[in-house]
């Protein structure tokens, strides 16, 4: 984080024919913001002003267009050759890596172990300062100071219990994403908690109560799926 590199956005680009569910879930669970792209044009259209935090390229479905995309990115991206890039390849594609060392920073074999993949993404972003952990989490009127554990809504301090705070932090770090109760239980409470997935409902209800009528709808119930914080990504 302290390295003297230019600031980048915290948005990852994910290039794939279609983003594999396992990949999407691992990124979501890791708390990363990401955008799916399918062509070099799209990549430059959607690139944030500060450049991509990193790029993940899934080469398993169509390796030819994947490498073409990478080459084009290296030439045309705002940050030029410095964009950090992780290639996802199948075991049979290892030979594809030969003589392409300048094109990628790291690679990961598919199917991947989520923990390994996440560790690689974390390492990829290490020097760019785009790690998902930041001191302040802000979303509209809500702000959370991760360093001091304080939360406020429209300037009014929120008095939360520890678990309520952790749940709100997790949700607000991932606005627009839908989480199942199991995912939330898993990520926020950890496996040792025995209350069951209904614990999540109980805490969401309490959080809404504390946010107050005006802001209770920040945490939306997605029927028969789970919960979403804030707007959907696409709206």
């Amino acid at each position: 984080m302290s390295d003297a590199v230019p600031a980048t956005s915290d948005l990852l680009a994910v290039f794939a024919v279609s983003v594999a569910p396992e990949l999407a879930r691992t990124l979501d669970l890791g708390g990363y913001r990401w955008k799916s792209i399918s062509s070099p044009t799209e990549a430059s259209e959607h690139e944030p002003a500060e450049g991509w935090a990193g790029v993940i390229v899934d080469a398993t479905d169509d390796s030819t267009s994947a490498w073409a995309f990478i080459r084009s990115l290296r030439k045309n991206s705002t940050a030029g050759a410095s964009t950090r890039l992780l290639a996802l390849i199948s075991g049979a594609q290892i030979t594809d890596l030969e003589l392409r060392d300048e094109l990628f920073d790291d690679f990961c074999l598919v199917p991947f172990h989520p923990a390994e993949f996440e560790a690689r993404v974390r390492h990829l972003l290490w020097r760019t300062g785009a790690e998902p952990q930041q001191d302040m989490v802000e979303y509209r009127e809500l702000s959370l100071n991760v360093a001091t554990y304080q939360a406020s809504i429209a300037g009014r301090p929120l008095d939360l219990t520890y678990m309520e705070y952790e749940l709100l932090k997790f949700l607000s770090q991932n606005p627009g994403k839908v989480f199942t109760r199991e995912m939330l239980l898993n990520r926020v409470w950890g496996y040792e908690y025995y209350g069951g997935a209904r614990t999540v409902d109980v805490h969401v209800r309490r959080l809404r109560a504390k946010l107050g009528e005006e802001y209770a709808s920040m945490i939306e119930t997605v029927r028969s799926v789970g919960y979403r914080f804030g707007q959907t990504r696409w709206s």
Partner: protein, 448 residues
């Protein structure tokens, strides 16, 4: 100490610092369900979270005997909350405590740990016990000592009145409850003058018992600030409905409601049925705990929507257990409603015994008797006897006698609380027996 506990402790210490908390109130509950508290300064809090706070328990009903007066209050970091009343410039916080002996073993007079023990034993079978009470209470003008209570309004069930003082109080109360993380499901003006009902949303039993303790304090505090007296006395006014605490219960295994069955006429699973059978079979034994005052039994009389018979039904409010019909056949909403408890009980002990009685039924596979769907208030005793429908205890003395005989209650509460409670309540009964009431004077003084 686990990583989670470390983080929680850190969270509390930072909150205290950032919010400038001046005083931390350590809360716990005596055997009769009275909230007790002592305050410590933030400087002592870290130490309290690590090692607990020693205090002299001998002054507290049902706590230590003289020779072993000191006990330890162990704060439960999950329950740390800022109190949303008082001067915002000098904020105060509360935290619920478990009470331990100095050697670290649970103190036998601690009702919170009694409930925890039962919740954990259900959990050892993969079950989570959820509870949602509907709490009724009255608002009165601040009473003169010895005077009869005066209702604040004459509104009745669901009424909207223009000058509804009690409505304003209720709204403030609900805001405060929500700010303290006690979500409200419904609230309305009840049948009787000045009577209110607030229904809480289900949560795990320990949190809910903590919630009921907080609820009673909030209701009283907010009323007192307006010069109004709020009471949870079960039957403050003769001739109108009393205050109950109908308790909705369900058992969940993960996301699945163990009480629900698709293929049953009542949508009740075998677990639900034997749980209900357990409640019914042990109802008389646990009544001294769910209805612990002399006055409680003046609520449990015919004609006022309070149960008097040990029976169950789907939509009959005269029975002890009601099985509410779930909206849209929603499996997660399937639950049983136990209707005798009143809001003057110790919620930790009441929930513990409801769970113990229900789980006994499940463990032994008790058979659920047939539904009693007639209005039992209108059936005479002979027919009831034929249907084998018993009555709930008619007085505190009857309830205490049933409790004394109960192995289930003795085991569930532990020797210390069991004996202390009986001793204390028999004394109350003896004191009541010597009282000569208005009823007797009016009826006998001139006539005899």
């Amino acid at each position: 100490m686990t990583e989670l506990q470390d983080q929680q402790r850190d969270y509390i210490m930072r909150s205290v610092e950032e919010r400038g908390v001046r005083l931390v109130r350590l809360w716990f509950t005596d055997i009769l369900g009275n909230l007790k508290s002592f305050a410590i300064s933030p400087a002592e809090l870290e130490n309290a979270l690590d090692d607990g706070m020693t205090f002299d328990g001998s002054s507290i009903d049902g706590f230590s005997r003289i020779q072993e007066a000191d006990v330890l209050a162990i704060p439960d970091p999950n329950t740390f909350e800022l109190l949303p009343w008082g001067d915002p410039k000098t904020p105060e916080a509360r935290i619920f405590c478990d009470i331990n002996n100095l050697d670290g073993t649970p103190f036998h007079g601690d009702s919170r740990q009694v409930l925890k023990r039962h919740v954990q034993s259900a959990h050892a079978q993969g079950l989570n016990f959820y509870v949602a009470p509907d709490i009724e209470f009255f608002y009165f003008a601040a009473p003169e000592p010895g005077a009869r209570p005066v209702p604040l309004d004459e509104a009745s069930y669901f009424d909207l009145t223009t000058n509804d003082v009690t409505g304003t109080l209720r709204k403030q109360t609900i805001r405060t409850l929500e700010a303290m993380g006690i979500p409200v499901e419904y609230s309305f003006h009840e049948d009787a003058p000045s009577q209110q009902e607030i229904d809480l949303r289900h949560t795990d039993a320990v949190s809910m018992a903590d919630g009921v303790m907080t609820f009673r304090l909030i209701v009283r505090e907010i009323a007192a600030a307006q010069g109004v007296h709020a009471t949870f006395m079960p039957k403050p006014l003769e001739g109108v409905q009393g205050s109950g605490m109908h308790t909705h219960m369900s058992l969940f295994r993960g996301d699945g409601n163990e009480f629900f069955a698709d293929d049953d006429d009542y949508n009740l699973s075998p677990t639900a049925k034997s749980f209900m059978a357990g409640l019914l079979r042990h109802a008389a034994e646990i009544t001294a705990i769910t209805n612990q005052t002399i006055n409680s039994y003046k609520r449990l009389v015919p004609g006022f929507e309070a149960p008097i018979h040990v029976s169950w039904a789907r939509n009959n409010r005269s029975g002890l257990i009601r099985v509410p019909i779930a909206k849209r056949g929603n499996p997660t909403a399937t639950r049983v409603e136990y209707r005798s408890p009143d809001p003057a009980c110790n919620p930790y002990l009441a929930f513990a015994l409801l769970l113990a009685a229900g789980m006994k039924g499940v463990a032994e596979g008790y058979e659920l008797p047939a539904e009693a769907d007639a209005n039992l208030f209108e059936i005479d005793d002979e027919v009831l006897a034929k249907l084998q429908i018993a009555r709930l205890p008619q007085s505190l003395a009857e309830a205490l006698r049933a409790m004394e005989e109960s192995e289930l209650v003795q085991e569930a509460l532990g020797e210390h609380i069991f004996e202390w409670f009986l001793r204390n309540k028999w004394r109350e009964w003896e004191a009541y027996k010597t009282h000569v009431s208005d009823f007797e004077i009016n009826r006998y003084l001139r006539a005899l």
